[in-house]
């Protein structure tokens, strides 16, 4: 569904939205797997938005840092996303839409915090992180 370079950009993006620390970030928790499931099913009408959004994000990264988005540090990626949120001149010029970023943020949270049956939240690790324990 996504090319290798798109997948790499998606991993960089989701790990910016939920970065790794003492607990796994989005990628290690299976968020990209969750998103691919969703894009193959109920959210299939958003596939084009992902293609366009990831390309625009890459243009923005190259314009600002002269590097692809997945070549940036976490701090640089964070500042790029802040530019998108604040609709900076460069972000608007890149064609990236804040509504798409909002969609990816929602998908990330759902992949990270929803039940593992949806393809993310491997080993229910986010539940262990927040302290939501399923007893039966």
């Amino acid at each position: 569904m996504l090319t290798t370079s798109e997948m790499s950009a998606l991993e960089a993006l989701t790990d910016t939205i939920i970065p790794p620390d003492d607990w796994p970030g989005a990628v290690a928790a299976g968020v990209c797997n969750f998103i691919l499931h969703l894009l193959a099913n109920e959210e299939n009408w958003h596939v084009d938005a992902y293609h366009l959004g990831l390309a625009a994000l890459d243009r923005l990264a190259r314009g600002v840092h002269d590097l692809p988005f997945d070549g940036l540090t976490l701090a640089q990626r964070t500042s790029v996303l802040e530019m998108v949120e604040q609709q900076s001149q460069e972000a608007v010029a890149s064609g990236i839409e804040t509504s798409w970023l909002g969609l990816v943020i929602r998908h990330c949270a759902e992949g990270y915090y929803a039940d593992s049956g949806n393809g993310g939240n491997f080993d229910q690790l986010s539940w262990a992180m927040v302290g939501y324990k399923v007893t039966i």
Binding site: T16, I17, I18, P19, D21, W23, L38, N41, E42, E43, T78, L81, G102, I105, C108, A109, E110, Y113, A114, D115, G117, N118, S126, W127, M129, V130, G131, Y132, K133, V134, T135, I136
Partner: protein
């Protein structure tokens, strides 16, 4: 004409009870349900597809092929899927919402039946008294509490009304939040009480006690301790040998004789994509489809005798659609207040249901059920916390267990323009015109909600919340959802109501409505126990008529 003594359409809180009462009274009953019979495993534990968070679907129906229409904020006509905002879904399965509900088992208060007399009728509203009083329903509230099983403390609530019998079970066990909020309420001088629940706090009815799991509201019970109609009255009805349950079957329209009296129902079902229909006859027909679908069925039952639908001579069917506004506030507490003991809703106050100076009505407020982490992320984050990045992850990790959510249903002031009509241009998978929803609640509902929101904040402050967020609802919108009610209100005057005081449709000898459609107003409480009590009372009346009385 051969047929059943009664056809009951819809197997939720009202229909399940009606079927049981009639079957146990010796009558043959056909119980029709559009959804399927679902086990605990069928419902599952999908955190993105449940009645609490229906991001991509529902675990207990309805599914695709059942659209409704409404106008969006831009005024465009849109077709909505059941899990989208504005659809106002009720579960579609055997037992309906009682399979996945939170099971709060409140009685309305005596004042809730006399809203117009107590407060007057605000201009533009259709506020009215019920034709019956609390005392008319009291025996049936008691019957519902004992036959299905309710836990609670009948002596704790200083604001409750007379009851003829105590609850059959003691309240649920206490939790961390109970202690914190009780201390806060004590500081304010507020009376509190445990929340009555249709859940076994101890073994009851041959089923075990609650296992205190973290998936109560929105999901089916893993140990079958949640008392709905699917595990109580419906099996009893079937056990008589006189009740036939037909699931995955839709009522298409009501069928009348030459005098315009209802004598049967046209049913539709789907097998391998083929729709088949058949007409089934009965001496009595009972609609228990919920406030939106019961109105839709009446409006779709047009004929030469009923050009605008059955019971709709005065254009009353579908009006006064109401549910509950749910003002709520979240508070960050100094310590963890999460102990994982479900269902989680444990402490409430009914102090503000009435008697609020300058305010019409009010509502009960209580702490919230355990929220799944993703529901918390969607609904409970403070506005200033970023939705992404380290700060968001930190908040979830540090504060999920420290948050208390106070909320509750506000008694709505009904508006006649909030209504269900049918859209004949859009059909469901059976080819039946779908429900179209329009209008909004009365402005007084918004004002009462703002008042109740302040009480939620006050309770959190007194309980030592360090930070409080959440907003009072602003603006009037259509309210329905799982608490939908009011579209076929009962009354003594056929020109301003749809049914009589028993739920019998005016000018119809054989047609009853026993669900929340007949609520004149919807109380400041979860309405299910009232639906159940009305079903017991109405079904007894139907049984006595079938006996020739």
């Amino acid at each position: 004409m051969s047929g059943y003594d009664a056809i009951v359409i819809g197997s939720g809180a009202g229909g399940g009870i009606a079927a049981c009462v009639l079957a146990e009274s010796g009558f043959s009953v056909l119980l029709v349900e559009r959804g399927e019979q679902l086990s605990y495993h069928d419902v599952g534990r999908d955190h993105l597809r449940n009645q609490r968070l229906s991001a991509y679907g529902h675990n207990a129906g309805p599914g695709l092929g059942n659209p409704r229409t409404a106008r969006n904020a831009q005024g465009e006509l849109v077709a909505l899927s059941p899990w989208q905002g504005g659809y106002h879904a009720n579960a579609a399965c055997v037992g309906s919402g009682t399979v996945v509900y939170g099971a709060q088992a409140w009685r309305f208060l005596p004042q809730d039946f006399k809203m117009a007399s107590i407060y007057g009728v605000p201009p533009g509203s259709s506020l009215a008294d019920w034709p019956i009083e609390y005392n008319d329903l009291e025996p049936y509230y008691t019957r519902a509490e004992w036959e299905l099983g309710v836990c609670g403390d009948d002596r704790a609530n200083a604001h409750s009304a007379y009851r003829s019998k105590a609850y059959p079970m003691p309240p649920m066990r206490s939790t961390l939040q109970h202690g914190v909020l009780k201390a806060g309420a004590d500081r304010l001088g507020w009376n509190t009480s445990p929340v009555p629940l249709l859940i076994n706090s101890q073994e009851y009815g041959g089923r075990p006690a609650c296992a205190a799991c973290q998936h109560c509201v929105g999901f089916a019970c893993p140990v079958d301790a949640k008392n709905g109609t699917a595990n109580t009255v419906i099996p009893r009805a079937i056990q008589t040998g006189r009740c036939e349950l037909r699931s995955s079957t839709m009522a298409k329209r009501l069928v009348c004789d030459d005098d315009g009296q209802v004598i049967g129902v046209e049913l539709a079902s789907e097998l391998y994509g083929e729709i088949s229909t058949r007409v089934v006859y009965a001496r009595k027909v009972i609609l228990s489809c919920g406030a939106i679908e019961s109105a839709r069925l009446l409006l779709n039952s047009t004929s030469s005798q009923h050009p605008s639908g059955i019971g709709n001579r005065y254009d009353m069917v579908g009006r006064n659609l109401q549910g509950h506004y749910y003002p709520g506030a979240m508070g960050l507490m100094p310590h963890d207040v999460y102990d994982g003991i479900g269902p989680g809703v444990v402490i409430s106050t009914s102090r503000f249901n009435h008697g609020n100076k300058g305010i019409i009505g009010g509502g009960m407020i209580a702490n919230e059920f355990i929220m799944t982490p993703i529901t918390y992320w969607h609904r409970a984050l403070p506005p200033e916390v970023p939705r992404w990045g380290q700060a968001n992850k930190d908040w979830m990790r540090d504060n999920y267990r420290r948050t208390i959510h106070i909320t509750g249903p506000v008694q709505e002031i009904p508006s006649p323009s909030a209504r269900v009509t049918v859209n004949r241009e859009v059909r469901d998978k059976y080819g039946i015109p779908v429900a179209h929803l329009s209008g909004a609640t009365h402005e007084e509902t918004v004002r009462t909600s703002a008042f109740m929101w302040e009480r939620c904040v006050e309770w959190l402050q007194a309980s030592n919340a360090q930070h409080i967020w959440g907003e009072a609802p602003r603006g009037a919108w259509l309210s329905g959802g799982q608490h939908q009610a009011g579209t076929c209100r009962m009354g003594d005057n056929p020109e301003s109501s749809v049914t009589d005081r028993w739920g019998r449709v005016h000018h119809q000898s054989n047609l009853y409505i026993l669900d929340s459609s007949i609520h004149v107003t919807n109380g400041g409480f979860n309405p299910v126990l009232t639906i159940m009590a009305l079903a017991y009372r109405g079904a007894e009346k139907v049984a006595s008529e079938l006996n020739g009385h």
